[in-house]
């Protein structure tokens, strides 16, 4: 150790766990990453949040050394992604297509102990099994696992080597509600032990329980970066609807709190960060309106709206379906409260 060329380099524990600067990656004409910048501190749990096709998997595959960045700089644990992977300090759970991601004809325990032995300082297999809720399934053959169980085994594979840095790409994608809940409980416990965790998801509701910080990406670039509460504050959570004739959407967009305005015939829908401010501004603006109604927007759909092209366009004509179609009604109690 440390005999290769010159004095041993300090392990720089203070440096970031990973850094992405100005990374560009294209698939033929598709720009998957468009000058993406990202930095994750050691010990941090970061959520990469973005709609399908945002570039999350591409970013993760570059950080894992599966693909090389076509432009820009990438460093992982102070070195290049492939060396970091070879050093055994990185674990990963990839997004799988149709398959289980596991080899057949082997017991869960044997698969995990083989994988653990590929790493320098692996975790004891019993601990990995316990951590991923697989103790009961240790003697099960991999081909007899359900989809959710296989996903837990893939999580176990990611942590079997007791890595410092773990990447999870859409780890709960095929799980039911209960599966998701217990998965994030496992994750939370794992991430509180000083490890760095980066996970990708397109579920806004999944991130705030686990992530220290959220980076929202859209079309391969960062559109928001901050704590869960900060990001949620930027997501329009109220919807103001009313009827009005010949109103200019550009004017509505200027109203306080309005994030997006949709005019469809005489029907107007405003996505708002602050319904009170929006209604006050609407009254003050002199725009005539009838049948006003304020509802809670579905957080998930509002998030999709934030990260989709609609947020830019602000106006949707009749030909284009809006990204939101089923707003959740605010409980009447909250409107009739004194």
């Amino acid at each position: 150790m440390g005999l290769r060329g010159g004095p041993p380099r300090p392990a720089e524990p203070g440096g970031p766990a990973l850094r992405f600067s100005g990374v560009v990656h294209r698939y033929r004409s598709i720009v998957a990453l468009d000058h993406l910048d990202l930095e994750v501190a050691r010990g941090e749990t970061l959520a990469l949040l973005g709609p399908n096709g945002a570039g999350k998997s591409t970013a993760i595959s570059i950080l894992l050394g599966i693909q090389r960045a076509q432009e820009g700089e990438v460093s992982v644990l102070g070195t290049d992604p492939r060396s970091a992977m070879a050093s055994g300090k990185v674990g990963a759970m990839l997004q799988v297509g149709g398959g289980s991601g596991l080899p057949h004809g082997v017991k869960v325990r044997d698969l995990l102990s083989m994988t653990a032995r590929l790493y320098r300082n692996p975790a004891p297999v019993a601990r990995t099994l316990a951590r991923s809720g697989l103790t009961e399934l240790a003697d099960r053959q991999t081909q007899r696992l359900s989809g959710g169980q296989a996903q837990r085994v893939r999580f176990a594979l990611a942590i079997a080597g007791d890595p410092e840095l773990v990447f999870l790409d859409e780890p709960t994608i095929a799980m039911d509600v209960e599966g998701r809940r217990s998965f994030w409980a496992m994750m939370r416990q794992f991430s509180t032990e000083g490890r760095t965790v980066v996970f990708a998801t397109h579920h806004l509701d999944e991130v705030d329980a686990v992530a220290d910080r959220i980076v929202v990406i859209r079309k391969g670039a960062v559109v928001a970066n901050g704590a869960a509460s900060t990001i949620k504050a930027a997501v329009p959570t109220r919807r103001v609807r009313f009827a009005s004739k010949g109103v200019d959407p550009a004017r509505l967009r200027e109203l306080d709190g309005v994030n997006a305005a949709c005019v469809r015939g005489s029907q107007v829908v405003l996505d708002s960060l602050d319904a009170d401010a929006t209604v006050r501004a609407l009254v003050a603006s002199g725009v005539s309106f009838t049948d006003i109604e304020v509802t809670g927007a579905d957080l998930e759909q509002a998030f999709v709206a934030l990260t989709s092209d609609l947020a830019e366009a602000h106006t949707v004509d009749d030909a284009v379906a809006p990204a939101y179609s089923a707003p959740i009604r605010r409980p009447p109690a909250s409107r009739t409260a004194p």
Binding site: L64, Q67, G98, G101, L102, P103, M114, L118, R154, L157
Partner: protein
């Protein structure tokens, strides 16, 4: 690096525990040997040896081929489809480990398959050879199985998990029948006799047939097999690169 031996042991054990695989690779050549031994008179002379000896070499060749095509081809295609090959890429194992381990696994499995067929020849067929000839025969068949191993791996890379079974079955059929493993090449129709000269199975078995007839293995046969191994090896490397450059299988 302790990774490779660990992974190789895992792969070999996983293959040996597969009852269906072991049954097919060992069972088929042994059963065919016993079934077809009496198609001719066991003591009938053929190519400088007896039928029972000649056919033992044929079935050992058949076994080596079936073992390699299934160990490499069938399993590899399934594991590419399931995403296991991608998962392996996010371990400390070097990226070439998967292929080399598949080829090594094939080679390790082929040896007992050859030995079991030889044992059947000895015990059931009454084949008698000098200890040296047994040893040389085993060594020659084992070493040249490398070309089948690379063929198996290539098939696994080219085929999808759905097309791999028919492809492996077709290859097994073509290579064994037209390579003269069931009907000796001189007894095949003229057209097929010429086809045999292009098949690795024919040249593979020819090496063994020469050994049991007390001749030196033909340099031509060895050359063709080597050429096959090189071309297949290059093709495998190329397919592996293509697979690697694809982020999502």
């Amino acid at each position: 690096m302790t990774g490779l031996p660990t992974f190789l042991r895992f792969e070999v054990l996983r293959l040996l525990r597969n009852v269906r695989y072991v049954g097919i690779t060992v069972g088929f050549p042994v059963v065919f040997y016993v079934l077809f031994l009496h198609n001719e008179h066991p003591e009938a002379r053929i190519a400088g040896t007896t039928w029972k000896t000649y056919f033992m070499v044929s079935m050992a060749s058949f076994g080596a081929m079936v073992a390699s095509l299934n160990a490499g081809g069938t399993r590899l295609a399934a594991e590419r489809a399931s995403g296991w090959t991608r998962q392996l890429r996010v371990t400390p194992l070097p990226s070439w480990s998967y292929i080399t381990t598949k080829i090594a696994t094939s080679m390790i499995i082929v040896l007992p398959v050859i030995a079991v067929v030889e044992l059947t020849g000895l015990l059931i067929g009454g084949v008698r050879l000098s200890p040296l000839t047994w040893a040389v025969l085993t060594l020659v068949l084992w070493a040249s199985a490398f070309s089948f191993a690379s063929l198996g791996v290539l098939v696994g890379y080219v085929a999808s998990s759905e097309t791999v079974y028919p492809l492996v079955t077709a290859l097994m059929f073509l290579l064994s029948f037209f390579g003269g493993l069931f009907t000796p090449v001189p007894d095949l129709p003229v057209v097929l006799r010429h086809a045999a000269a292009f098949l690795p199975s024919y040249h593979y078995a020819s090496l063994g047939w020469a050994v049991v007839a007390g001749r030196a293995p033909g340099a031509g046969d060895a050359g063709v097999l080597l050429a096959y191994a090189v071309v297949l090896g290059l093709a495998v490397t190329w397919r592996h690169r293509v697979d690697e450059s694809r982020a999502f299988a």
